[in-house]
């Protein structure tokens, strides 16, 4: 009876604590949202800084959407948006432009969090988005169209999509439009542009609803699909800006009309869409099942991605050990509040998905005024997450060391710190090695998830290669192999270290 009562009190307390935390955070977020937007003078200052080269224009783009934006074999971004933004920036007098890779769905949040200055990723101007960001004038007319396999004969119009599986990219206009205009379609939501087309080619979906330019480009490049029916919408593409940056937006608009007047704009549309506008459907290019060229042509970006992945693993591994040691010792502390802190750390971090923590750190913290570089956010999130597991490993290993070891050390007059350092921790470390090895294998695998916060590590490089080559099989097999080798090396190191250290067992 008594234990039930105290347990209930514990839960009530925990609940109250969480509630307190949430309301505190939302209150802060609310104040952040209602602070007045900076005055125009401030944005002019920013524009001036961009023009003087003191600031770099940060352009967020999901370079997996040819011909608007994609990544070439050298890892360079290219496409209509890339060229046009460069030309517009030049016209505006902005010196430095940096394109930042991010998933399409993250672009608007990234603008709101001041992680980028421009969203240039074939974004449709919509009233919904215009609540969160400002749009430039229309820079290219677009519109949704239906694409199906070229062998498909039963989908000819929007009405035919009823009951069919329709591939759409997460966060794009197609999702909302279809749910309003063809609610009977079953949406297959995929992360990237190429996955949309692949899912039709592989039979995972019956049709794609996406922007006409992108669909046509795919047909030209790869074949196997055809466009059916009329254009569904007459949408317009615009560049997205942070609400306060009206000066930058205005200067882009006047640069756009300048380029349209002097012919620069037409040159770019001819370069990227000219052949599409006139092209009759082209037959599919021949593709083997495994194309080593998909890898060898992209050796440089793959190597760079590999190096970035190794850096991320290395740094987050060290961080994870630090958090784990701190957490482990906190959980063993004689001081109750510190012990609580350790317990809370493990409970919260292990009790929530890694991807949620990562997004909270990268997209959420800016609302509280703390903005982290993608790499910093990624490494921190990985270290924090893995550290909660290391905490339990450290605690378990230290507790498993015979109590007599500490007593013998203390009875000789050694301080508990000395005893830990010379006797307990070395013995505990040996016991930690096998579980630590496992944990660091997990960390390595989780590191692929930081691609979501725009870090060009191995997995993201692979995705950009696929968006260009559409060769998911080869690239994912290759990337899987690389991770397999890394995890096995980690396992091997842990094993060897254990054998070397285990001389006294």
């Amino acid at each position: 009876m008594k234990t039930i009562f105290t347990r209930r009190r514990f839960w009530a307390f925990l609940f109250a604590l969480v509630l307190l935390g949430i309301t505190g955070v939302t209150a802060q977020a609310a104040t952040a949202a209602t602070t007045p937007a900076p005055t125009p003078a401030v944005t002019s200052e920013k524009l001036a800084a961009l023009q003087s080269g003191n600031l770099t224009l940060r352009v967020g783009t999901d370079a997996t959407f040819p011909p608007f934006e994609f990544t070439d074999a050298n890892g360079d971004k290219m496409g209509f948006d890339i060229d046009l933004v460069r030309a517009l920036a030049k016209q505006t007098g902005i010196k430095n432009v940096q394109f930042i890779q991010m998933p399409f769905g993250n672009i608007v949040p990234a603008l709101q969090a001041n992680q980028i200055d421009v969203g240039a990723s074939a974004i449709y101007i919509s009233a919904e988005r215009a609540k969160a960001v400002d749009f430039s004038d229309v820079y290219y007319p677009g519109g949704l169209s239906i694409f199906v396999s070229d062998k498909n004969t039963n989908v000819k119009s929007l009405a035919d999509l009823a009951g069919k599986k329709v591939a759409v990219q997460v966060g794009t206009k197609s999702v909302e439009w279809l749910s309003q205009n063809q609610p009977k379609a079953q949406l297959v939501q995929v992360q990237t542009n190429d996955q949309m087309f692949s899912s039709v080619k592989l039979g995972q979906a019956d049709a794609v609803v996406t922007g006409q330019p992108g669909g046509r480009y795919f047909i030209v490049q790869q074949g196997g699909l055809k466009q059916v029916g009329e254009r569904l919408t007459n949408e317009n593409y615009g560049y997205a800006f942070q609400k306060p940056d009206t000066a930058i937006k205005d200067s882009f608009n006047s640069a756009l009309s300048d380029l349209k007047a002097n012919g620069g704009y037409d040159k770019l549309t001819a370069k990227w869409f000219g052949h599409v506008a006139t092209a009759a459907p082209v037959s599919a290019k021949a593709h083997g099942l495994i194309n080593i060229s998909s890898i060898t042509n992209s050796a440089v970006p793959l190597w760079n991605g590999f190096v970035t992945t190794m850096e991320i693993i290395g740094m987050s591994l060290v961080l994870s050990l630090c958090f784990g040691m701190l957490g482990g010792f906190a959980k063993l502390s004689k001081i109750t509040p510190i012990r609580w802190l350790g317990t809370a750390y493990v409970s919260v971090i292990r009790g929530t998905p890694f991807i949620v923590q990562l997004f909270l750190i990268y997209f959420g913290l800016p609302q509280l005024g703390l903005q982290l570089q993608p790499l910093v956010a990624g490494v921190f999130a990985l270290g924090l997450y893995s550290g909660s597991y290391v905490t339990e490993i450290v605690r378990g290993a230290i507790q498993s060391v015979d109590k007599g070891q500490m007593e013998a050390a203390r009875s000789c007059g050694m301080s508990s710190g000395s005893a830990l350092r010379h006797i307990i921790v070395p013995q505990a470390f040996l016991r930690m090695l096998p579980p630590l090895g496992n944990e660091f294998v997990s960390l390595t695998k989780n590191s692929a998830l930081v691609s979501f916060v725009t870090i060009s590590e191995l997995f993201l490089v692979g995705q950009t290669i696929i968006s260009r080559t559409f060769d998911a099989l080869t690239v994912y097999i290759f990337i899987g192999l690389v991770y397999y080798v890394i995890t096995n090396i980690i396992g091997f190191i842990a094993n060897t270290l254990e054998k070397k250290m285990a001389v006294y067992l």
Partner: protein
Amino acid sequence: MALLSTTAITKTFGTLNVLKGIDFTIEPGEVVAVIGPSGGGKSTFLRCLNLLEIPSSGHVVFDGEDLLNPNVDLNRLRSRMGMVFQQFNLFHNLTALRNVMLPQMNVLGKSKADAEAHAMELLEKVGMTHRAGAYPSQLSGGQKQRIAIARAVAMNPKLMLFDEPTSALDPEVVNDVLDVMTDLAQQGMTMIVVTHEMGFARKVADRVVFVDGGVIAADMPPEKFFADDNTHPRVREFLNKVL
């Protein structure tokens, strides 16, 4: 002046009163054997002397200093009290030699060379030089216990505490360890030995302290304690069982 004295120490674990007020003194050079029935509180008493267990009340004065005074440097005082455990408690991750060296260097601040020379000298005395490089897992119980004694003696303690040092040993090696302890006693070391070895208590100890039910039920020289005319009822009962 007494080297160590306790006044009215008690110890409770939760609701269990293990020690119920122990007054005890030992003079320099004395060897005291502590005997008594299992569960009587002998180990707890010994562990209260170097504060591995904190007494619930009472005083422990060692070398003129009150151990329970929060201002005393407990580590320094502990280094002058060697302790030998039933389960040896050698540091598993260190060789025999390193076991004897580490506390000298860490606590006394001795140089590596000095610590090693002193350690080898003591390993020689306990007959263990040939196994100096071995890890505890590679040694027999008797060998481990002799090294544990060397480790404690290496600190040049004023007092040695032994908690059933031979109880975990095979009978044929018990005497190796007892011989080392006898040597130590003959060199004038002050010792408190919790033991079930009645022969050792009778031959080597100056006093026998009988701990039973959390109190010192008898404290007398061995010749009286083991005499056939000792009429103390609990002692009689105990002796009849063990002898």
